[in-house]
């Protein structure tokens, strides 16, 4: 029964991801929004498993979402999405535990056997956002702020910042890559 639900859920996610690869932004947003609770659960369980509290759960959730995004070319359209997502989550979780000085084998199957139950959190990364954004150039920071906080499209951000749309896209992509690198190095 549970297994059937998990399969149905994965089938929908695979469809969204395929649609996203074909250029459907709405499907991509839906997918990421659906993955966030799963990741939150996986990370929370991983932390509990290794004797950590829930202090930095949202940090790892965000790092994982960023990794899923930057590595989406490694997902094959013919494979299931859930194992791929949890493999990335596991990698990020182990990485984050290692930075905290723990070296553990995580039984990932135990972490995903139950469907995600939505647990209310503030969904806020505990990291000082300004400190994180400080690794970006001014341009990248302006672009990331306009798009993330104000929810602008690349077009709107381009108009506001008097940049070309192409330049906004490049700044955004480089900014995200820089954020992924700084997440890894910041806690060391």
């Amino acid at each position: 029964m549970e297994q059937q639900r998990a399969q149905d859920r994965d089938r929908i996610w695979v469809e969204w991801m395929r649609a996203a690869n074909a250029g459907d932004e709405i499907a991509y947003r839906r997918l990421l929004e659906a993955l966030a609770p799963l990741l939150r659960q996986v990370v929370r369980r991983g932390f509990a498993h290794s004797g950590f509290g829930n202090c930095d759960v949202e940090d790892v959730v965000q790092e994982t979402l960023l990794a899923i995004h930057l590595k989406r070319q490694t997902w094959d359209e013919d494979e299931a999405l859930t194992p791929w997502v949890t493999a990335i989550a596991r990698h990020k979780l182990i990485d984050s535990l290692r930075r905290r000085g723990r070296h553990i084998e995580l039984p990932i199957d135990d972490l995903i056997d139950v469907l995600p139950a939505e647990i209310p959190t503030e969904r806020l990364s505990s990291r000082d956002a300004e400190r994180l954004l400080s690794v970006l150039t001014d341009r990248q920071r302006d672009v990331v702020r306009a798009i993330s906080i104000e929810g602008m499209s690349a077009r709107e951000a381009a108009d506001r910042l008097r940049m070309s749309e192409g330049a906004v896209r490049v700044a955004l992509h480089r900014g995200l890559s820089a954020l992924a690198v700084s997440c890894r190095d910041l806690d060391q």
């Binding site: 074909a22 932004e25 990421l32 979402l65 070319q73 490694t74 791929w84 798009i147």
Partner: protein, 214 residues
């Protein structure tokens, strides 16, 4: 930053480039580019051996070229599998047994057919150290291109991924060098070529450990 704000940026970035190229695309480009650079350096410095055409008719020479080519193909295949986060490294790396077994068979055949007194000279060849140095020289730029391409991947172990990238680049350099080299005995290949490719693999491991983190 809030998670929904992060998702805003990811969606906007995705809209700019919906389906990024798979890792294999970049890796093939790196191999083609690596072969081109390596061949250019090769023709400027070493050059093809004078009896290349007639050598192609001997089993030893074909085996030398073949083992290196098979390793290059196997390493490419393994690298592609390892670039996915769901890969199981040990299973994926089984393909590397193919060139190893091929070379072992050739070595055994050589040991059986050549008299014991000739083994040392076959194994040492004319200049093994020069062979190792040349392969390293022809492999370094291909390694750079390979690692760069593999940065698109999501390997569970960056170090292992780097080591396989080193095997790939090393066998590429060795394949090019084999067109110059006149030491065709499998014994020579199993010592000096393997040493050079092994060094490239260690080098790839060290580089990959940092460069392929994600």
């Amino acid at each position: 930053m809030r998670t929904d704000e992060l998702i805003n940026t990811l969606v906007a970035d995705h809209a700019a480039q919906p389906g990024p190229k798979p890792v294999g695309h970049g890796l093939v480009m790196a191999i083609i580019g690596g072969l081109a650079i390596s061949s250019a350096l090769f023709s400027l410095t070493l050059g093809v051996r004078p009896d290349f055409i007639s050598a192609l008719g001997t089993w030893r020479y074909d085996m030398k070229l073949g083992v290196n080519l098979v390793l290059m193909i196997a390493a490419t295949w393994v690298a592609l599998r390892l670039s996915r986060p769901t890969a199981t490294p040990l299973t994926a790396m089984r393909a590397l047994m193919v060139p190893v077994l091929l070379l072992l068979a050739a070595v055994l055949y050589e040991l059986v057919t050549v008299s014991v007194s000739a083994w040392p000279s076959r194994a040492m060849g004319v200049n093994g150290v020069m062979c190792v140095a040349s392969i390293l020289f022809l492999s370094l730029l291909p390694l750079t291109a390979t690692i760069y391409a593999l940065r698109q991947g999501a390997p569970t172990s960056p170090a292992v991924m780097g080591a396989v990238g080193g095997l790939l680049a090393g066998s590429l350099g060795a394949t090019v060098f084999a067109m110059h080299c006149t030491n065709d005995s499998p014994l020579f290949v199993a010592i000096w070529y393997a040493l050079a490719i092994g060094l490239m693999s260690i080098f790839g491991l060290l580089v990959g450990k940092r460069a392929l983190r994600w």
